[in-house]
């Protein structure tokens, strides 16, 4: 396609080796891309059997293309949490904005939450669309050195639900990695949906050999959230993803009226700090709740730039400094504001 066109709808994508199935995968499906596809006992009588059996097996043919795209990306950071609504996207956007404050750095932010993309709103890019050119899909730039990609840019109507099963989501994730023209980047921050399922397995599978710096885990202080984050740490171990550290978000709330501090989500079991110690991963810090964050996210402004004096901003900046040290790209001190 020579001229720039707009990706308007969620059309069926070319999903590489994931074959187009004639029917949903049955129970006990060995996985359409597995060695056993089309041959396992469960495949008997499945309408997809022939399709699966005839698909070439072995390493994903798109991996070299993903490698080429990712060659120019120096640091890749995943933002994970087993729990929803703990602030993964908020933290991702803050990471993006904070990295991009350094005008010498090129930053990319990728939103893998297919069913509930929040980043376009949070980064003030709602309603933007992705353009396709010869070199691939162009990210949406929210600052000169800050590009982003999300399925939110591909929906004809923002209220449309993406009712996709896992295989289709994986296909889109592959396209995000293979076809988006990031150029050369210093940082690529990847936001994920909650859970330990298709999106997480796929992004790890595709990026594993390109060298991922690691994952930042986000949690809130209450045990119900910690429980799910425990599972995510277990997942990281199983999948061989390095855990850069744990961030405790929404820890404590300072009343704007009386400045009294209170716990909204009480850390009855010791909060993120105890979990990090228990699981032997670095604890990056606690971020208090500031009601203005919600507003900044809704309007798509950078909270760190708007309210640099908030204790929340200070906590986040401190965490990001630590992170950059962990990935071997520390902030130079003269850049300190």
């Amino acid at each position: 396609m020579a001229t720039a066109t707009t990706v308007t709808s969620a059309k069926p994508y070319n999903t590489g080796t994931i074959p187009t199935l004639a029917a949903p995968e049955p129970e006990h499906c060995p996985g359409t891309d597995s060695e056993q596809a089309g041959k396992a006992d469960a495949c008997e009588g499945c309408p997809n059997q022939l399709i699966c059996a005839s698909t070439p097996k072995g390493p994903d043919v798109d991996l070299p293309a993903i490698h080429r795209r990712m060659e120019g990306v120096r640091h890749k950071i995943l933002v994970l949490s087993g729990k929803g609504g703990v602030g993964k996207s908020t933290f991702t956007s803050m990471l993006g904005w904070a990295f991009a404050q350094d005008t010498d750095k090129e930053v990319g932010v990728m939103d893998l939450d297919i069913c509930g993309p929040s980043l376009p709103t949070m980064m003030g890019a709602k309603g933007e669309q992705i353009h396709m050119s010869n070199s691939g899909w162009s990210p949406v730039y929210v600052a000169d050195n800050l590009g982003m990609m999300s399925i939110g840019f591909m929906l004809p109507n923002e209220d449309d639900a993406i009712i996709w099963r896992g295989a289709k989501k994986s296909g889109l994730i592959k396209q995000f990695l293979k076809d988006v023209d990031w150029g050369s980047l210093d940082f690529l921050v990847v936001d994920t949906p909650p859970g330990t399922s298709d999106e997480h397995l796929s992004v790890n599978q595709y990026l594993k050999d390109t060298g991922v710096d690691g994952a930042v885990l986000v949690t809130t202080p209450q045990e119900v959230a910690l429980l799910d984050v425990r599972k995510e740490i277990d997942f990281c171990r199983k999948a061989g993803i390095k855990v850069l550290g744990l961030v405790e978000n929404m820890s404590g709330f300072v009343c704007p009226n009386c400045s009294g501090e209170s716990f909204i989500f009480a850390p009855t079991t010791g909060g993120g700090k105890a979990l990090a110690a228990d699981m032997k991963i670095p604890f990056l810090g606690s971020v208090p709740l500031d009601p203005r964050i919600g507003q900044s996210c809704d309007t798509g402004n950078s909270f760190l730039d708007e309210y640099p004096d908030s204790p929340t901003s200070k906590a986040v900046i401190k965490i990001i400094r630590q992170l950059r040290e962990f990935i071997g790209d520390p902030v130079e001190d003269d850049e300190d504001e």
Binding site: A23, E25, P26, E27, H28, C29, G31, G82, G84, G85, S89, I114, C115, G116, S118, T121, M122, D159, A161, I162, I163, R165, G166, A167, P193, P194, G195, T196, S197, D198, H200, T220, E223, V224, A225, L227, D228, K231, E232, I233, D234, F235, A239, F253, C255, P256, N257, C258, G260, S262, F263, I264, F265, A266, T268, T269, L289, P291, C297, D298
Partner: protein, 292 residues
């Protein structure tokens, strides 16, 4: 895939099925499900709760049942009862894990198979209400549960949101999903709507306000109510673990009763209880005329 042409026998004696949905994570689906269940029990109904959040099940912790295991009977899986009165039972993948920190790393087809089992192979017995707690999103779990329940004609869905635009945007997608699969929307609950400072009683709108009500108006669905943040509810949930800690490992269904702690009783003292009583009354009224 085998499609069902009749109501699964496991659900034949279940009078009402209500799903709790939200496009957004962490808005309180599980805590709303828990409180709806407790309120329904207080109204004298028998309630079953099914947790289809397979990668992040929260309900065992919510009901203080983390140490419990599922039993297999000749008819199928027996859900876990909260106490000996058998008014409230729970089914979750959390009961099937060896260790509470184990992750369930499954792709779609396996999750779908598990949900199928949860719908068909659980001995729910006679229930007034079956509440189904879901993970965030509109993907495998949601498609599967909609498929599995198609012939059982669920009463509808309660949508949970928090007030900020980032959350209501995702809940709009869930609304589109419900319309697409033909699931009735019973109403919208706005959770985390304000936080009352325990020091000065000033109400802070941490996640803004009014988003849920606006959403309900815009889509012309009932607004069931706004639920403020009450840190004491979290403490109440955690307190049962402190109380039950002494009985960990005990497999008797009334282990928690044995320690003198009953969530059903304790919840009556919670400030959120009257708010939920109103929400629950509306849900009961909305589902009353639905014949399954």
């Amino acid at each position: 895939m085998a499609t069902a042409n009749d109501i699964p026998p496991s659900l034949s004696k279940v009078r009402h099925i209500v799903l709790v949905l939200s496009g957004k994570g962490g808005v309180g689906k599980s805590s709303i499900t828990t409180q709806l269940a407790l309120s329904l029990v207080q109204l004298g109904y028998s309630v079953g709760v099914l947790d289809i959040d397979l990668t992040g099940p929260s309900l065992p912790r919510m009901f203080g049942l983390e140490s419990k295991k599922i039993h297999q009977s000749s008819q199928g899986w027996v859900p876990v009862y909260t106490d000996s009165s058998k008014r409230l039972c729970v089914m979750s993948i959390g009961f099937l894990l060896k260790d509470r920190g184990d992750s369930v790393v499954w792709r779609g087809p396996k999750k779908s198979a598990m949900i199928r089992q949860f719908v068909r192979d659980v001995v729910w017995g006679e229930l007034d209400y079956l509440l189904i707690d879901t993970p965030p999103g509109t993907s495998d779990e949601h498609i599967s549960i909609a498929e599995q329940l198609r012939d059982a004609h669920p009463d509808g869905a309660v949508l949970v949101t928090t007030p900020q635009a980032v959350a209501t945007a995702d809940v709009r997608k869930e609304l589109s999903f419900c319309r697409k699969v033909g699931l009735d929307i019973l109403g919208v609950v706005e959770n985390m709507s304000g936080f009352i400072c325990p020091h000065c009683a000033e109400c802070s709108h941490i996640f803004s306000k009014g988003g849920g009500e606006d959403l309900a108006k815009q889509y012309d669905v009932p607004f069931l109510g706004a639920v403020p943040i009450d840190p004491r509810f979290v403490l109440l949930i955690e307190e049962q673990h402190a109380t039950a800690a002494s009985t960990v490992g005990e497999q008797k269904p009334d282990a928690i009763d044995g320690t003198g702690f009953s969530l059903i009783e304790k919840y009556k003292e919670c400030k959120l209880c009257p708010i939920f009583a109103r929400i629950t009354e509306q849900v009961v009224a909305l589902t009353k005329d639905k014949a399954r």
